[in-house]
């Protein structure tokens, strides 16, 4: 089983290297992370934290948008595209299960995302540390940012596979993936914000709203990074919601999401008839 997953992952990795996905993902992450770090260098003095802390806070916001986007862009073609090109039918006549195929692709694409995040955030973090200093706490925050970004990417890779299996064509899968991104990253937060404003500090805001944040992997990601580091919380201004939840809530949600989404993708893939 492991041998077959590795075989699929090896081929998938070779493909991603050739169609420049590895390069593109890494360059995009690095450029944005560097730009944000230096654009966000201004408030250091006012908050009394080192530059790396501010940099991690800005990069957290960046990752909320970029990690799901990159993951979905890589994943949406995985099943629908392969089925359209006719390769899936042949692949499925081999003694490899659909779960193994999925895990192979997942392993390769997650490795690429992890590489891009490590290089991108690492480079920006190093630049910030050199320019404005860093402490143990801010270094841990950087490591946490990279780790949680990988988890966030994993959630959306798997969601992308599910969409790819449901859509039936690569074009439809691309559209669905864009919709998914919009809902999870933009509309969900807007909806919650509207509800909080209407509720005006009532029970919803105090008891329900923080939990609703953990339901969305993008918000769980933000909460985890914010709740774990005071400096980051200070810089992002998300302390309120973070303090209303037990410390395990956001990490648990972000760890569960990739598993749930993979299960969903496997179920949807099982219904695909190539």
């Amino acid at each position: 089983m492991i041998a077959r997953i590795l075989a699929v992952a090896t081929a998938e990795f070779a493909l991603a290297r050739r169609n420049r996905w590895v390069l593109m993902a890494t360059v995009i992450m690095t450029l944005f992370a560097l730009a944000l770090t230096f654009a966000g260098a201004a408030p250091t003095g006012a908050l009394g934290v080192d530059l790396l802390t501010v940099s991690v806070a800005s990069m957290t916001t960046l990752s909320v948008y970029l990690a799901p986007l990159l993951a979905l862009m890589m994943a949406f073609d995985a099943i629908a595209g392969e089925a359209e090109r006719g390769g899936l039918a042949l692949l499925l006549t081999y003694p490899v299960s659909r779960g193994e195929l999925l895990l192979g692709k997942f392993a390769a694409q997650l490795a690429i995302l992890a590489f891009a995040f490590a290089i991108g955030f690492g480079a920006a973090g190093a630049a910030a540390a050199l320019a404005g200093g860093a402490g143990t706490e801010s270094l841990i925050a950087l490591a946490r940012l990279i780790g949680t970004s990988v988890l966030l990417g994993a959630s959306f890779l798997a969601l992308g596979y599910a969409v790819s299996a449901i859509a039936g064509s690569a074009t439809a899968a691309a559209g669905l993936a864009a919709g998914l991104w919009l809902v999870f990253v933009v509309l969900y937060d807007l909806g919650l914000l509207g509800a909080v404003v209407l509720d005006d500090g009532g029970t919803f805001t105090r008891n329900v709203f923080p939990w609703l944040l953990t339901v969305n992997p993008a918000d769980a990601f933000r909460l985890w990074n914010v709740a774990a580091a005071d400096g980051v919380a200070l810089a992002t201004g998300m302390t309120g919601a973070a303090n209303a939840l037990p410390a395990w809530a956001a990490p648990a949600a972000l760890l569960l999401w990739p598993l749930l989404a993979l299960g969903l993708a496997r179920f949807a893939f099982g219904r695909v008839e190539p």
Binding site: A3, R4, G87, A89, T93, Y94
Partner: protein, 305 residues
């Protein structure tokens, strides 16, 4: 005849919604046998293959692939498939693609290079498949069929779009696969080549099996006439025509038709004419004639045995 079948279909039915694509197919293929599966577009050939491969579910009936249920790990291990328009990753090299298949089939990646050599792709193996010709891709498709010594090989239109030389090479490899004891099913409408390259012929028409036999048996049962074409010595076709009848083709040739069992009698009479006849050409009904005959027949269940 005591061999257990490599592949057997019993009362196979496939429906898509209300449309019945295959109805009551019974078919047995023995190890080492080459079966041509003929039929128009939409007759159900590809659907039949997908059922055998477990890519789509049966509506009724039973299929046994090398003793296992279609789609099971054992059946997938025992079968190989060449899809109609075979498609590989354009960005992978031939060697990488075949290595992936080898590892999925549980075979050593070391088996890959000899195989590429066998199908004449040793030189191109390091180049991306996107730069290959259609014939090369088809040969790579065949190379992956050779992986893992399958007991059943299903080839869907293996020669479509190939030039004559590539076709010839392709059939040489198919013969080799069959010689190892693999049951080979070839779906095709390239009738003339299948004629010489297969042991048995099955004809599908609108989801029903209307013929399943050897070429000789199909010919005998169809009772289509044999054509005898006589060329006269000294442009003297009129004399022969007067003696034997038949149809004058031009000044020097005559065409006769007879039933298979009359053939020897006719030939004896022709031989008796001695010097009048310069040449005799005997043409049995072609596969195309047979195909027309059987695929035009009303299905009265005569093939149910």
């Amino acid at each position: 005849m005591t061999d257990s079948p490599a592949l057997s279909l019993d009362g196979v039915v496939k429906r898509y919604g209300r449309a019945e694509v295959l109805s009551g197919i019974n078919l047995v293929v023995k190890p080492g046998e080459r079966l041509a599966l003929l039929g128009h577009n939409g007759a159900g050939k590809s659907t039949l293959m997908k059922l055998v491969l477990g890519l789509t579910a049966l509506s009724a009936g039973e299929i046994v692939v090398a003793g296992a249920a279609p789609g099971s790990a054992a059946a997938r291990q025992a079968s190989a498939y060449l899809p109609e328009a075979v498609s590989f990753h354009r960005l992978l090299t031939g060697r990488e693609q075949l290595r992936l298949f080898a590892r999925l089939a549980g075979e050593s990646p070391r088996a890959v290079d000899p195989l590429l050599e066998r199908v004449g792709l040793a030189e191109a193996a390091g180049r991306r498949i996107g730069t290959w010709s259609k014939g090369m891709r088809q040969r790579l498709g065949l190379a992956q069929v050779l992986l893992g010594r399958p007991q059943v090989a299903l080839l869907d239109e293996p020669t479509s779009g190939l030039d004559p030389i590539s076709r010839h090479e392709l059939y040489a490899i198919i013969d080799e696969i069959a010689a190892r004891g693999t049951a080979v099913v070839i779906a095709s409408h390239a009738l003339t080549e299948v004629e010489a390259q297969t042991d048995r012929i099955a004809i599908l028409r609108q989801g029903r099996l209307v013929a399943d036999s050897t070429l000789a048996e199909l010919r005998a049962r169809a009772g289509l006439p044999i054509r005898l074409r006589l060329t006269a010595q000294h442009d003297d076709a009129a004399e022969i025509h007067a003696q034997l009848g038949g149809e004058r083709v031009n000044g020097t040739a005559i065409e006769l038709r007879c039933r298979p069992d009359e053939k020897m009698d006719r030939l004896a009479r022709i031989a008796a004419l001695g010097g009048l006849v310069a040449d005799v050409e005997v043409t049995p009904p072609s596969l195309e004639d047979l195909y027309r005959h059987y695929s035009g027949l009303e299905t009265s269940g005569e093939e149910r045995r």
